[in-house]
């Protein structure tokens, strides 16, 4: 065993698909999940004679990402990255090389640690290969199917500085970046659908040294969990290798999720010389100051700002559990529900809890839910017209139905307030059981109003209407 204490040096390369209406260089629809090869044209198929025309919306989205990552937005140009691969319609990819659109930015993790962003450049996606054969890997496939729907979909590749030191930080970076991408509206950031893809450059070095070790690039990280596992595996592998007298070879490695290990891919990669040169079919891209200003000022609040809003709403000192809820709610983009509810008078703690649990459980539907509907449901709960259990049930029904009137739904579900006769009878029983408190109440001890209201709610499983209970108590002389 060696006494050396090691640290990881990690840089992440994140590809995100922009959710533009059309592809980067042609008018084909940019859509996920369509039948294969329906969103194609001469340009994205790379047919002879076709030419690329840059999508203005894609540039706008890429600039939003650059602005959100505090990058300089600079005069840029497109280059060709030349390599043969069947999913690559032209056998070159139009990308940005030495002159990227966005450079020199940073991303701040929730704990305040800043990771440098080297660049965030535009490029086109490739088609998608499906290997038919034993292992699903290209070398062993019997044949392959190519779907060019994804060919030419706009991507932004965000390259971090090698500032990350732990797998946890890498996870926090990817997670925060995902939130930022979604907040800009540029990307949906879905790792599981491949619209956000993370590659990790990992090396190790003895703590206290400055020189970088030889790095390996890890691909095929399809979730944040994979990212963490792969980095930890790879660092452990490299440390073991070095400690046993070996050397790390710079290479690309494939993360095997089921086996929980990385495997060398270098047989395919090592010979690549991409022969970048400026793309002669496109003109340089240099967004003017006015356009940049429009993008910067049009940028909505980023996740960090939105978390601060919720923290302030809680009086500035959230519990750890509340911090987790705030993260979850902002990550899912559900903080708008919380702030809307808080504005109508719903306690922030309640709104946060319902958003982080019930709404988050159906986050897709929750994003479509009218914030006012969410707020009025929680008003019924905080006003006592609905019990917590009933409120959750009504919320669940609203999310399933895609909206509605919470009062009407509550009625349908039998959560209607009691009739005044029934209420009177219930109250009679409670007074009989708490004669001492009732006497004090009649003597003017007003805070007992709350006590009797709670008792009524409990006795009626929340069906009583809070306002009616109050009215009844007053009418009896309280």
């Amino acid at each position: 065993m060696s006494d050396i204490e090691w640290e990881m040096v990690i840089g992440l390369e994140v590809h995100c698909e922009l959710q533009t209406t059309t592809k980067l260089f042609c008018g084909c629809r940019n859509a996920f999940g369509d039948e294969p090869n329906v969103n194609i044209c001469p340009t994205c198929l790379g047919l002879p004679g076709s030419l690329p025309v840059l999508n203005e919306q894609a540039v706008e989205f890429a600039m939003r990402i650059g602005a959100a990552l505090h990058c300089d937005i600079r005069p840029s140009e497109f280059s060709r990255k030349n390599y043969f691969y069947p999913d690559q319609a032209k056998d070159y990819q139009i990308s940005q090389y030495d002159l990227p659109l966005n450079a020199n930015g940073w991303l701040e993790l929730p704990d305040g640690f800043r990771v440098g962003v080297t660049r965030a450049h535009m490029e086109e996606d490739t088609g998608k290969l499906t290997h038919i054969g034993a292992s699903g890997r290209i070398n062993a496939a019997l044949h392959a199917l190519v779907d060019y729907n994804r060919s030419g979909v706009p991507l932004v590749e965000i390259v971090s500085e090698p500032d990350i030191r732990t797998a946890g930080q890498a996870r926090a970076y990817a997670s925060e970046l995902r939130g930022i991408l979604v907040a800009t509206g540029a990307s949906d950031g879905r790792m599981e659908e491949g619209s956000m893809r993370v590659d990790a450059n990992v090396s190790v070095r003895p703590v206290g040294t400055d020189a970088f070790g030889t790095r390996c690039e890890i691909k095929n990280l399809n979730s944040l969990r994979s990212l963490v596992r792969a980095i930890e595996y790879e660092a452990t592998r490299q440390i073991a290798l070095v400690e046993s007298g070996g050397t790390v070879v710079q290479e690309t490695r494939h993360w095997d999720e089921s086996a929980g290990r990385t495997d060398s891919m270098r047989s395919k990669e090592e010979a690549n010389d991409y022969r970048y040169f400026p793309e002669p079919d496109l003109v340089p891209l240099a967004p003017d100051a006015a356009w940049q200003e429009k993008v910067r000022t049009g940028l909505g609040a980023m996740p960090a700002d939105r978390r601060s809003v919720l923290v302030s709403g809680l009086g500035g000192t959230p519990t750890d559990a509340e911090k987790d809820q705030i993260h979850a709610v902002v990550d899912l983009g559900l903080d708008g529900l919380v702030t809307a509810a808080a504005e109508t008078g719903v306690p922030v703690t309640l709104a946060l809890a319902r958003a982080a649990n019930e709404a988050a459980a159906q986050s897709e539907a929750a994003l479509r839910l009218d914030p006012e509907t969410f707020a009025s449901t929680l008003m019924l709960e905080s006003g006592g017209q609905l019990s917590a259990t009933q409120s959750k049930a009504v919320l669940g029904a609203l999310l399933e139905r895609g909206g509605g009137d919470p009062a009407v739904i509550a009625k349908e579900m039998g959560f209607e307030a009691l009739s005044s006769d029934t209420l009177g009878a219930v109250l009679d029983e409670i007074i009989a059981a708490h004669t001492e408190e009732w006497a004090r109440f009649l003597d003017g001890e007003d805070k007992l109003m709350g006590f009797f209201t709670r008792e009524v709610m409990q006795a009626t499983a929340g069906k009583a209407n809070g306002k009616e209970v109050a009215a009844e108590l007053r009418s009896r002389g309280g």
Partner: protein, 473 residues
């Protein structure tokens, strides 16, 4: 067919002659005489007849049939024609039918022109003799033992033979002007970006430009006016609205400053030098102020071109990999299939240039070759700017010699490349230039005189060319 496009269009527009009759005559001429020449790789007979009938119907109905009504046009086979085979003179694209029309093909149709067929060319426009075609060489109609020049040799021959009054070619290093000179017709390369490249199968994207062939300068101007204009499908297309060049065609050269560019004359054969001097004298006689000018930077053009063009070609031609269209030679895995397909599908010259270009872009060599060539290109552009600060147009030879024998240079790449020495500077700078027939050489074969003009000065270019043509022996 010896009528000019101008005459034919007027006859068809007035109803004096039917477009169908014009097309039938052209098809008959090709059927009878193209066997020896091999100008056409394929004919668009059905489409041409249908197009002609549509023009005739428009005339009969009193609708405007367009400025090129009923005029047959030959298309170089690197221009995409919807549903019609487009080969680029290569086995790798044999039988390929594009699902779309090039913008210029669309513009021709709207102007009432009739696309008659697709013409032979050096494979992927790489060559200066049309001998590098996978489908046999084209012969020069003026002398069938001679090459027609290239790479647009089929288009030049089609016009020279009288099959069609007009043709389209593409010019990357002289591929319109040099065959025009060797076949004794007018051939013009527009300003880069003036004519859309959409649907032109790329050879070297930053140099390629589509342009007209015609028997007369007036016809070339007529065709150019149809082709010129902004196309949103081509990002390098220029947004400015072109002035019609026909309007000023006959305004003469009184007071025009002509620089007789020694660098585009002195290395040429004596008979070519003599014709260029006579053309210069003719211009002076017509009122132009003619002076000798030296632009030594042009001497570096050829070397720069033979790095830039192959570099871009090596990338542009990567897509012919057997995966999606064209030839596929099966093999045990994808990489072997790519290699087998490209080995079988490309000819020797294409392979040579792909290798040259790949090398020029390779890590460690990029700066010494590609980047250096781009710096030379900038130098050539600056040299043009300097020359145009003193002269309105430049004059020179188009090709160093008249048409050479079939087979004479096909195995000597450098000898072939030197054919482009006078035409390449305009491709590097993106400026327009035109070759105008001006007499013959000692062998009785045509000589072309080249007029060069600044960017977007096509009207001036044609105006000067018109005078050169008027004084041609």
């Amino acid at each position: 067919m010896r009528e000019t496009a101008t005459t034919l269009a007027a006859q068809v527009r007035s109803g004096e002659r039917s477009a169908r009759d014009v097309v039938e005559e052209a098809l008959a001429a090709v059927a009878s005489d193209d066997g020896d020449l091999n100008a056409f790789l394929s004919l668009l007979e059905d489409e041409a007849r249908a197009g002609a009938d549509a023009v005739d119907a428009a005339v009969a109905a009193g609708r405007d049939p367009g400025s090129l009504a009923g005029v047959p046009v030959a298309l170089k086979d690197n221009l995409c024609t919807r549903g019609a085979v487009t080969t680029c003179g290569s086995k790798i694209l044999e039988g390929w039918r594009p699902p779309y029309d090039a913008t210029v093909v669309d513009l021709l149709r709207r102007a009432g022109a009739i696309a008659l067929g697709k013409t032979n060319m050096d494979e992927f426009a790489m060559g200066s003799s049309t001998e590098n075609s996978a489908f046999g060489a084209t012969r020069n109609p003026r002398h069938t033992g001679k090459v027609p020049g290239g790479s647009s040799g089929g288009s030049a021959a089609a016009v020279a033979a009288g099959f069609t009054p007009l043709a389209l070619g593409s010019d990357t290093g002289g591929s319109i002007r040099q065959p025009a000179a060797l076949c004794g017709v007018v051939g013009m390369k527009p300003t880069y970006g003036r004519v859309s490249r959409y649907g032109l199968v790329a050879f070297a994207s930053s140099l390629d430009q589509i342009g007209p062939f015609a028997a007369t300068v007036e016809d070339a101007a007529l065709l150019f006016d149809v082709l010129a204009g902004y196309d949103p499908l081509d990002s390098t297309s220029l947004p400015s609205v072109p002035e019609p060049t026909l309007a000023t065609l006959h305004e003469g050269v009184e007071g025009i400053r002509v620089g007789l560019c020694r660098d585009l004359v002195d290395g040429c054969a004596a008979d070519v030098v003599a014709r260029v001097q006579e053309a210069a004298d003719a211009l002076a006689g017509a009122g132009a102020r003619v002076e000798d000018v030296s632009v030594p930077e042009f001497g570096y053009g050829l070397s720069a071109y033979y790095l830039i063009a192959p570099a871009e070609a090596s990338s542009n031609l990567a897509r012919y990999d057997g995966v999606r269209y064209g030839l596929r030679v099966d093999a045990e895995d994808v990489a072997s299939m790519n290699t087998a397909t490209r080995t079988a599908g490309f000819g020797a010259e294409v392979k040579r240039r792909i290798m040259l270009g790949t090398y020029a872009l390779s890590a460690g060599y990029y700066d010494a070759y590609y980047a250096q060539a781009q710096r030379v290109r900038t130098l050539v552009m600056q040299a043009f700017d300097r020359a145009y600060s003193s002269y309105d147009v430049l004059l020179g030879a188009t090709a160093p010699t008249t048409a050479f024998d079939v087979g004479a240079k096909v195995d000597v790449p450098m000898a072939m490349y030197v054919n482009d020495v006078c035409t390449i500077p305009s491709n590097l700078s993106g400026h327009p230039a035109v070759s105008v027939p001006f007499g013959t050489g000692a062998d009785g074969l045509p000589v072309g005189v080249q007029v060069l003009a600044p960017a977007l000065q096509e009207a001036l270019l044609f105006r000067v060319a018109q005078v050169v043509e008027a004084f041609a022996p």
